[in-house]
Amino acid sequence: MALLSADAKMEAMTAAAEVKGRSLWQDARRRLFRNKAAVVSMIILAIIVALALAAPSLSKHAYDAQDYNQVGCPPSWALDVDKANDPDYMDKAPESALCAQGIIASYEAAQADWDLSCGTGAVPIEGTTCGPKPEVDDFKHFLGTDAIGRDLWVRILYGARVSLAVGIVATMVALLIGVLYGATAGYVGGRVDNYMMRFVDIMYALPFIFFVIILMTVTADVPFFKDPFNRFILIFAAIGAVEWLTMARIVRGQTLSIRRKEFVEAAVAAGVSNGAIIRRHIIPNVIGPVIVFVTLTIPAIILAESFLSFLGLGVQEPMTSWGVLISEGANEMETKPWMLVFPALMMAVTLFCFNFIGDGLRDALDPKDR
């Protein structure tokens, strides 16, 4: 009987806590939406994510297709296609003129192909359907091409997919390990806590990028990790596995203070198991600072991945990421500045957005900090 009533009490208490929690969240949401920088950042970020997700259908060019007529060409809007064969244009800007001629050449070649297999009098090959007749615009490259003639805009979008995916998945890895580790250390306390946090301190003593670099180096020859996809997963795991340290510290600190609160005492008195207390009482209550930290970890991880890719240890060709693109751009910046400017701009904007949202969330969730 006594147990039952205790259970009922607990239920009532959790229900009460939930009601209070919800109003806190509503409050936070209102404060967040009043923060203009954060709102604008959320909108821009949503657009970037949507572009990345829709990347395959946004352009006629494939991310790994080379256009041999347009190698290292500037953005198409900087070219004057109508004057491609104008000798004046050739005199003034020979490279642009050549690129404009490249567009025409690609177009004419594709048109000839189309005429041959789909045009009037052609015998259609069985099982194939003919698409619409190619147009000049189909061969323009919105942000130019890279040093081997691949469309930069599409590569930036595909790079966004990789960079964002790494950022989000690695953060989730860090979140999972960090929250469980930190909550356990903080809740169990005593000697266990001491040893667990000592381990974190040791890991902290090294700039984490070293561990990741060593890991990427030693796995370079393992056949399993030669597969681009597996290597990709390894990057997630490697970065996530080191980024959890700060998360664990934050969660532990929060847990230590929450553990002494009455409702936890009540749960202990009611005979709730340790695991259940951590899951149902501790974790929901530390979630605020964790969310803030997550939004600030994603850009940190995107940066870390770019850093690795920049050094040549990240994702492998033909896959790409912002770090790879920036690295390629930096090598060609003297003659092809667009290869550096656009990927760098895209990454900078994304990082800004995450940071503004993180700051906004911190202000929203912790009003006494303002």
């Binding site: 670099i213 060593i214 500045p337």
Partner: protein
């Protein structure tokens, strides 16, 4: 005080040992070695090479030999890829370059960062404050490997006022860009840090007392507020060094400076295990030592912190 220092040093030794051991075993247990080329070597030559580098012995024995050599002779072994060079020789070659770069960047970051931070705090919530903080945000979000090529493109290529890359035996014109690029993120972080602590300090009682007894604004700031306001900078020293070390990997690579960071990246790419090990040990020691010094300094400078 002495007890505290001894305890901290004793605590640092196992940390360092674990880092060294973890790195060593990670590198040795991975399949494929530095001598697996495109062409397989004849077995007897491979055996000889392995014997020369002690690679034929069991891993734990290699580890013991390695540690003993470091402790007794300061010898980090031969570089696997740079023939005729020992790791110590390579590190000695690179150290002056990296040290110069790091010290200059650190000095610049501390001076500019604290100046910006203090200025912003003194003019809190004015246009100056907001612009300093926006610049700091840019410095934090935009990574070194973007600022480096951009500044090179503008100053080196378009305006042609500074050399694009190269060390040129440490000519000052060649050092400007690398130092500035390396210090930018640190300037940003330091100015945010200093602004935050100065804002707190300016609200505190002792500053009010100083004002009440009729000191000028300048005296209040220089004699009283700055001392307390710059304290967090001391505890940031450790992380700052770690940041500079990470940054130097990229900066040395981009500007072609022959420093330790470049050796590390090259070593990692070529899988020159001994070189990578040597650099990791060096950097770990450096960071742990500087963290220790920063902690001790903090306790010396701040009377509020009692030695625990």
């Amino acid at each position: 005080m002495l007890g505290y220092i001894v305890r901290r040093i004793l605590g640092a030794i196992p940390t360092l040992f674990i880092i060294v051991a973890a790195t060593f075993f990670m590198m040795r247990l991975a399949p494929g070695g530095p001598f697996d080329g495109e062409r397989r070597l004849p077995p007897e030559i491979e055996r000889n090479i392995k014997a020369a580098y002690n690679l034929d012995k069991p891993v734990y024995e290699q580890f013991t030999i390695y540690i003993t050599n470091i402790l007794t002779k300061g010898d980090f072994g031969p570089s696997f890829k740079n023939k005729d060079f020992s790791v110590s020789e390579l590190i000695m070659l690179g150290a002056p370059v990296s040290l110069k770069l790091g010290l200059l960047a650190m000095t610049l970051a501390v001076i500019v960062g604290s100046f910006l931070g203090v200025t912003a705090a003194l003019r809190q919530n004015t246009a100056t404050d907001y612009s300093v903080m926006s610049i700091a945000m840019i410095g934090i979000t935009i990574p070194t490997f973007v600022t480096a090529p951009f500044l090179t493109l503008i100053l080196g290529v378009y305006l042609g006022v500074l050399p694009v890359a190269g060390y040129a035996d440490g000519a000052w014109r060649n050092m400007i860009l690398p130092v500035v690029v390396l210090s930018l993120p640190q300037i940003a972080i330091i100015s945010r840090l200093v602004r935050g602590s100065m804002v707190e300090v300016l609200k505190s009682n002792f500053v009010r007392t100083a004002k009440a007894k009729g000191l000028t604004d300048g005296q209040v700031v220089w004699r009283h507020a700055l001392r307390a306001g710059l304290l967090p900078l001391v505890s940031y020293l450790g992380p700052a060094i770690a940041g500079l070390v990470t940054g130097s990997l990229v900066v040395e690579q981009i500007f072609g400076l022959p420093g330790i960071g470049r050796y590390f990246v090259q070593g990692a790419l070529n899988r020159d295990y001994t070189l990578v090990m040597g650099v990791v040990i060096l950097f770990a020691t450096l960071i742990i030592t500087l963290n220790l010094i920063a902690d001790i300094l903090y306790r010396v400078l701040d009377p509020r912190v009692r030695l625990g």
